[in-house]
């Protein structure tokens, strides 16, 4: 019973974190058709920025939105001045470009912060825990879960309920038709990468709060994000959430039962099975994909 509850809470936390990371990643993949290797670096950047803001006296919970705003700007600029120039080229160019970017960002982090883990001392109000049926649930975990689910809901609302969200979905479905209704595709691209980086930043900030920030965190979580994205499929908000659900539950199940070393293996195997059984990739809702 206790272990079941523990697994349940662990899963919830992971589902929340993976969701926001994968939503952002899937957005760039779907709209720009770029596999953004630097997504991990965005996550890492978020982690360090939150850490820095906290070290300069900002409450960690205020540091998160500040981090998100900063990363939105970073994403926008990177799209406008870098990714824009490879979008209509072969796939491999986008991968190479974002990999180069990843190198630069991680290298800079190593230079300024060293490989050391940087963790945030939680303010007193985040330090306690509640005991639910023997499973310990710390306040900080509760808060992180709430923030992650709140952000997921915001993204859903934005994409599904606002005109700009509809314009992003329209651009993904048919770029040319989007132009014909007067959508400025370049601006949509900037916005897309901005939102994606913002979500990655939030994920990184929350991870820094939960564990710590380190130069390696980006690549480590990028792998999970990849698994979640392909598991759930592109093209809908529900997709990454579904993927997060599957990976979150299986990861926490496997790590609690067999040990953490098996969790990546399980995730990767799941994805490969899905890809073999459905070679075009798991799709989102039937008509979300053009």
């Amino acid at each position: 019973m206790q272990i079941c509850l523990q697994i349940f809470f662990d899963s919830l936390l992971l589902i929340g974190l993976y969701s926001i990371g994968a939503l952002g990643f899937a957005l760039i993949w779907g709209v720009l058709n770029v596999l953004n290797i630097a997504h991990g670096a965005f996550i890492m950047l978020g982690g360090y920025l939150t850490f820095l803001l906290w070290r300069n006296g900002l409450d960690p919970l205020l540091a998160i939105p500040a981090t998100m705003a900063a990363l939105f700007a970073v994403g926008w600029l990177i799209q406008r001045f870098l990714i824009d120039y490879v979008v209509s080229g072969p796939h491999s160019l986008g991968i190479a470009l974002t990999y180069g970017l990843n190198l630069v960002l991680i290298g800079l982090a190593l230079y300024f912060f060293t490989a050391e883990y940087r963790s945030i001392n939680l303010p007193p109000y985040l330090r306690g825990y509640v005991d639910i049926g023997g499973a310990k649930l710390t306040y900080v975990r509760i808060v992180i879960m709430l923030i992650a689910f709140f952000l997921t809901a915001c993204v859903w609302w934005f994409m599904d309920r606002t005109e700009l969200g509809a314009a992003i979905r329209a651009t993904r479905l048919d770029m040319e038709a989007a132009r014909l209704v007067g959508i400025k595709v370049r601006t949509i691209f900037d916005l897309t990468t901005g939102i994606s980086a913002m979500l990655a930043g939030a994920m990184g900030g929350l991870i820094a709060l939960l564990h710590s920030a380190s130069p390696a965190m980006g690549d480590q979580y990028l792998l999970q994000v990849l698994i979640v994205t392909v598991l759930g499929g592109l093209g809908s908000i529900a997709g990454p959430m579904l993927g997060a659900l599957v990976l979150g539950i299986s990861t926490s199940l496997v790590s609690n039962l067999w040990g953490a070393t098996y969790s990546t293996l399980v995730g990767a195997t799941l994805v490969l099975l899905v890809l073999v059984l459905k070679p075009s990739g798991l799709r989102g809702r039937a008509f979300y994909e053009a």
Binding site: L35, S88, G89, A96, L108, R186
Partner: protein
Amino acid sequence: MPLSAARDRDGIVLALLVLGACCLPLVFGAYGLRVATMVAMYVALAQSWNLIGGYTGLISLAQPAFFGSGAIAALIFLVNGAPVWLAVLGSLGVSLAIAVMVGAPTLRLVGHYFVVATLLVSEALRNLVLNLNAFNFNGGISVNIVSKVGLTALSPTTYNQVFYYVMLGLATTAMLAIFALERSKWGLALRAIRDNQRAASALGVAATRLKIAVVLASAALVSLVGTAWAFWIGTVETNEAFSLTLTFEIIVMVFLGGRGTLWGPLLGVLVVLFINETIGVELAEITQVVSGVIVVLVVLLQPDGLIQIFRQGPRAFAPKTLAANLRRYRVR
């Protein structure tokens, strides 16, 4: 196929290069030889990726699976008392088996799904080996191969020279493979598949079979390099053997030099290793930033690779050319 004059020159240059490389141990000290061995190893790896990524257009990240299985399987064979020749052939067999299992389903995937699938194959295999606890092997632990094979009897100099020639042999094989491919009808077929698979099939090219053959060839070469690497460094550690970073590094080299060309990958290897060796290991993070910036600049300004200097001369770096390159794939 019409052989242009430039292509005839390729053969001569290649022969001279190999000949020169054979003489290097006569002039190089230990450090120089180590770097030369590295160059040879990277050239072999870069050309095997070039075969898949450059000529066939498949952005495969499955190379660590072949490199790692080549290294680890050889180690396991040795630990269990197999002779060296069996370890080499056995690990090659294991890698090829993995290539068949990986290639058949993933080659049907389109676009980024192929990239992600191959990446996950590598990661899955790494995690599998990390958790492997059988055949006198315990995944996380590093094992000293040299002592197992009894190579300790060799003097360090001879030892290093042996592995220099082994790597040089593999690099030469890789260069020759590309050289021959460029002149054969199969090279033409691969480029046709990359440009338009449907049209190629309609003209009688067995596209799927050819792609599997290329994956196997590339895997075999990478596996052999992996085995040689394991013997060379002596101590094998699983995470290092299945390193994605190494594969990305290789892909970067191919891109920098020029994918789908004979000389591009060699140029890329030299450029990257030069940066690494000059900036130095002490400032690894700066090296990383510099190579990252170079990758970004090359992708944006010279997407066909630095090899363009040799093809177009100084014109390749005229501001006008660079500006045109920059605009080439830009979204409106």
